[in-house]
């Protein structure tokens, strides 16, 4: 239990997916203009992340690794992710129309979201059992959601600010992301202090 908590805290706060690992930056910058989009995308990312980990992690350790095809992980994972996204979209559309309404349009965008493939690869490299891998994926998704949520707030405030012409648009957004990233640096050392 303690181990799970450590994993969760460290992927959400310290190794935040967007702000310190730089995965999924494109959607972080592109979809944080309003809260509805940001949350829809985040929920979709958490969902796909968990399902895809549940499939790729066993595939790697029970099929690819034993027959020495570990190097095919990139090809296999990206195909699994693409397939998962397609299947999930179909299932959700049929079975849970309200959920589809909320996150359906974001699902296809996820195939090329580097956050998903990145987390799959990190899990293979760094995590040593299935439960922890699932926890780490869930945490990474929550971290993504947290970053999206906070940054949407920052950007809404920025709409009202008087910004110099050449900084308008993306530059000021990136500078704001930099400040948000600094604030996340404050979490360094949390785990050591909490759990010794």
């Amino acid at each position: 239990m303690k181990e799970m908590l450590i994993i969760l805290l460290s992927v959400v706060l310290i190794d935040n997916l967007v702000l310190s690992r730089f995965l999924g930056v494109c959607s972080f910058l592109g979809l944080t203009k309003d809260l509805k989009n940001a949350m829809g995308m985040s929920v979709a990312v958490i969902f796909v992340m968990i399902v895809a980990t549940g499939i790729t992690y066993p595939i790697y350790w029970s099929i690819l690794e034993p027959i020495n095809l570990g190097y095919l992980q990139t090809v296999v994972f990206i195909l699994v992710i693409a397939a998962v996204v397609q299947v999930l979209e179909a299932i959700i559309r049929k079975a849970f129309p309200p959920l589809y309404k909320a996150m359906g349009i974001y699902l296809p965008l996820i195939t090329t979201n580097c956050a998903i493939l990145g987390v799959m690869l990190i899990n293979i490299q760094e995590i040593y059992n299935f439960g922890s891998a699932m926890m780490s994926s869930f945490g990474a998704g929550v971290g993504y959601m947290l970053a999206m949520f906070l940054f949407t707030g920052v950007r809404e405030k920025m709409e009202k600010a008087d910004i110099p012409e050449f900084m308008q648009g993306l530059p000021i957004t990136l500078m704001a992301a930099s400040v948000v990233s600094v604030s996340f640096m404050g979490f360094k050392g949390v785990i050591e202090n909490l759990f010794g």
Binding site: C26, G30, K33, I78, G104, I105, P108, L117, G169, L174
Partner: protein, 271 residues
Amino acid sequence: MTKKNSLFYEFLKGVLKENPLLILMLGTCPALAVTTSAENGLGMGVAATAVLIMSNVVISLLRKVIPDKVRIPAYITIIASLVTILQFLMQAYVPALNASLGIFIPLITVNCIILGRAEAYANSHGIVHSAIDGLGMGVGFTLALFFIGSIREILGFGTFFGTKMPWITEGGLQPMMIFGLPAGGFAVFGIMVAITQKLNKRFYARQPQAVIGCAECPGCISANTAPVDHASDDLEGQTDEPRVVVPKALREPGILAEPKDVKQSEREETK
């Protein structure tokens, strides 16, 4: 020389007019993550360029074979295979660089530049043009990564390609660690984009034709069943203005001078 459709034009387009990183905003993830040093930036750029050229060539060759409906999965598979090959090459010949780029080498697969160029260019053009387009885009990407990497390495670690800067001394000036951290990455990238926008406005009196975020990356859009409304919110807030036609100055190198009134009014503004 720089006539539209000439090979040189295709090359230059990727470097300047449609620089994938600074103007089209594609491939931001590796641009922020691996640019802690000039060497890493350069290495990442060269690796992505190699994959980009190869994928453009292969997809251009296969463009009449691949059925339209399954083209995105087909492209992704081709790109992922090329990335796997590249990973082997890097493990064998530049193991140190491979280790420091780490996970971002396999992540070239989902780099929007590559799928974007495949979808926007290679599937409708010949092999030679596609290869040159890939080269131009790759060089543009590499240059941008190299600049960001250099700035972050010099300011953040006080070195350049591992050589110590003369002004970093014991008890004297110290490097600013923040530039080596994620926060510095966002900041340096933001400043680079601001400078590019400023230069674009000043020298070419034009705006980037369309700013594409990853959400709008053609690969994602065409894999999409329902078009995403909000993804077309551009990052610049400038879509409402009519698209500015590329001025003659860009197409013909002889006449770089803008109409005088534009320049003068701009100078007055800067004063």
